[in-house]
């Protein structure tokens, strides 16, 4: 499908269906992505949510959704999605609901689930070719419990469990490639601060039938330590520095959807965030900044 409804930014929806009044932090980049995605998917969506910040979207008796929502344990949202898909299919087959009441089943989890605890359930769902969308909002840590590190935390970031002068000693897992290795129908990376790219990808995913998996980098003022007003700028810098490549996997190929002409140095992105402050003060850590730059350069050389 090449024809997109979203040619220019003016084609983006001007009304929003996600309800206001949720408990997410002011300036939450994850909520920004979720509301943009929901506008494209529409009301006939069942969200299957694993424990994380977004669990607090629906707190009985309040919900921002207009369709359905189900809460599962942290590791098992894709299994929950299987149950709902099966139930909908049975209802359709028995003609207990009409075709136009069918719903998109969307798993909504953080990176803690997607990159870690929930990975095995996701692998199984792809293996069974489950017809579902997976939306991971990636705030690079266990945000809801106070930003402990997760498998998505970038090298050198300070989290509440990596407070030393070198920050997190590990490296961010390449979930995109792990998902792609399963050869599902569609995989993409998106960002709330790039709404046109996001809209095109969600539009494409919505039209397909099978496993479709999306990772949204989600700048998190609370966990990454920056002023809420900078959420969008920091997201854009993640793209401009090449740290967050916008890409998709479709028909067996990985395509980059937005290649920065001239990549900005990674420190433009790093220095805006308190979680990397130790790389710049009291003394600049050229070695660590250089390592991060190198890994980004290496990625882009390889494509």
């Amino acid at each position: 499908m090449d024809e997109t409804r979203f040619k220019r930014i003016k084609d983006l929806p001007s009304t929003h269906i996600l309800g206001t009044g949720t408990a997410m932090c002011a300036g939450c980049g994850g909520l920004e992505a979720v509301h943009e995605v929901y506008d494209i998917l529409g009301e006939k969506t069942v969200f299957v949510n694993a424990a994380g910040c977004m669990t607090l979207l629906s707190i009985y008796p309040f919900t921002p959704f207009r369709g359905s929502w189900l809460y599962t344990a942290m590791a098992s949202a894709p299994a929950g999605a299987q149950g709902i898909r099966d139930a909908l299919d049975i209802l359709l087959e028995k003609k207990r609901i009409p075709r136009d009441e069918d719903m998109d089943v969307v798993v909504l989890t953080g990176d803690g689930s997607a990159y870690g605890m929930g990975l095995s359930a996701t692998s199984g769902a792809m293996e069974r070719n489950l017809d579902f969308i997976y939306l991971c909002y990636d705030n690079e840590g266990y945000g809801n419990t106070g930003q402990q590190y997760s498998s998505a935390t970038p090298h050198a970031a300070r989290t509440s469990t990596s407070k030393g002068p070198k920050g997190f000693p590990g490296y961010k897992k390449d979930l995109f490639s792990i998902w792609v290795a399963h050869n599902p129908l569609y995989v993409a990376t998106v960002l709330g601060a790039e709404p046109l790219d996001l809209a095109r990808k969600i539009e494409k995913a919505k039209e397909l039938k099978g496993p479709r998996l999306i990772i949204a980098l989600s700048p998190c003022p609370t966990g990454w330590d920056f002023d809420p007003s900078e959420s969008v700028e920091i997201g854009k810098l993640a793209v401009k520095t090449g740290i967050w490549p916008l890409k998709e996997y479709i028909d067996g190929k990985v395509v980059h959807t937005k290649v920065p002409d001239r990549r900005l140095p990674v420190e433009e992105y790093l220095k805006k965030q308190g979680r990397f402050a130790h790389l710049f003060s009291p003394k600049r850590n050229d070695k660590l900044i250089g390592e991060i730059q190198e890994s980004v350069d290496k990625y882009w050389k390889g494509i």
């Binding site: 929003h16 996600l18 300036g27 607090l56 009985y60 003022p221």
Partner: protein, 312 residues
């Protein structure tokens, strides 16, 4: 036993304040409990943290019902019932409010006779980069008001709690804590330990009896759409974004698309309108408006103004 509550908004450092004060008490040889009150709500929402300190083992648990000292980092929380600032306040409770309004006016407003003190940290609240020091200010003031903790322990506590943030930030916090400490000189020791609570004094909450219903009735199922709109998250805001409609060039997609909360709608003429009942004041709209048509003013000054959010 000392029972102290800090009230502020998520992101204003109330957890830090309680950590610093708790550690300072501990270094002074006290038994201590300190805890933030976690709820569903986050950055910008009313939150509180509390500290209990005693020379003997503390058997009390849970949220502090009858505080000896209440410190309010954000005065806009005082009238919000849900913030619980006034919960359990007696004639002996000392209240310290971050405010430029004089104490006697507060006494009038709140209709209480107990001691009220103010400490004007307001500029800090408006400048969000400075907001990170409010925790230290509150802890510094509390230490002076109880006056049983040495400056040495206060400094050591700040060093311990904030060390991972680097020496610069520790230093800045020390300075702020000292300013607040010194500003309370005239009231040193005015906070007295409340007595131990006896089991007989325990007040039962007013229970509502819910009959046991079948699952179809009693399971937490929500049938309405977007009921979250009943939650007025506009109360989280300390700064208010204002749109200058003469400068707005109706590009509409940016502020409205980027607003994480979907609190900016586009009217029929293509102008954005801000829903102040739900805008949390993140200022993403202000930061991303191409013609710079959006500005911000402190919520205090904005009260009663209707323009700036709706095209007239």
């Amino acid at each position: 036993m000392y029972r102290i509550r800090f009230h502020g908004r998520g992101g204003q450092g109330m957890k830090t304040a309680s950590r610093i004060l708790g550690t300072a008490f501990f270094l002074e040889g006290f038994e201590v409990q300190d805890a933030p009150r976690y709820g569903a709500e986050r950055r910008g929402a009313p939150i509180f943290a509390y500290v209990r300190a005693d020379r003997e083992a503390i058997n009390e648990r849970g949220i502090i019902g009858r505080p000896d000292l209440v410190i309010v980092a954000d005065e806009s929380l005082v009238p919000i019932a849900a913030a619980g600032v006034m919960t359990g306040i007696t004639g002996d409770t000392v209240i310290l409010i971050n405010s430029t309004v004089p104490p006697d006016l507060w006494q009038n407003r709140l209709n209480i006779t107990g001691p009220i003190l103010t400490l004007p940290m307001t500029t800090e609240v408006e400048d969000r980069l400075e907001a990170r020091f409010i925790g230290a200010l509150c802890a510094g003031a509390a230490v002076r008001l109880v006056d049983v903790i040495s400056l040495k322990s206060l400094k050591a506590a700040i060093g311990r709690e904030l060390e991972p943030l680097g020496p610069e930030i520790v230093k800045k916090n020390m300075e702020k804590a000292l300013i607040a400490y010194n500003s309370m000189d005239g009231h040193a020791g005015c906070v007295k330990e409340g007595g131990g609570m006896k089991a007989e004094e325990y007040e039962r909450p007013t229970w509502i009896d819910l009959p046991f219903d079948e699952a179809a009735l009693s399971a937490p199922v929500i049938h309405g759409a977007a009921t979250s709109e009943l939650m007025k998250t506009g109360l989280w805001r300390t700064m208010r974004p204002l749109i200058d409609y003469d400068q707005c060039n109706r590009c509409w997609w940016l502020c409205s698309t980027f607003c994480p909360d979907g609190a900016i709608r586009i009217n029929d003429e293509g102008y954005p309108e801000i829903d102040y009942e739900h805008c949390k004041g993140c200022m993403i709209c202000l930061a991303n408006c191409p013609p710079h048509a959006i500005s911000a003013i402190p919520e205090e000054q904005a009260k009663g103004r209707s323009e700036g959010g709706k095209k007239s």
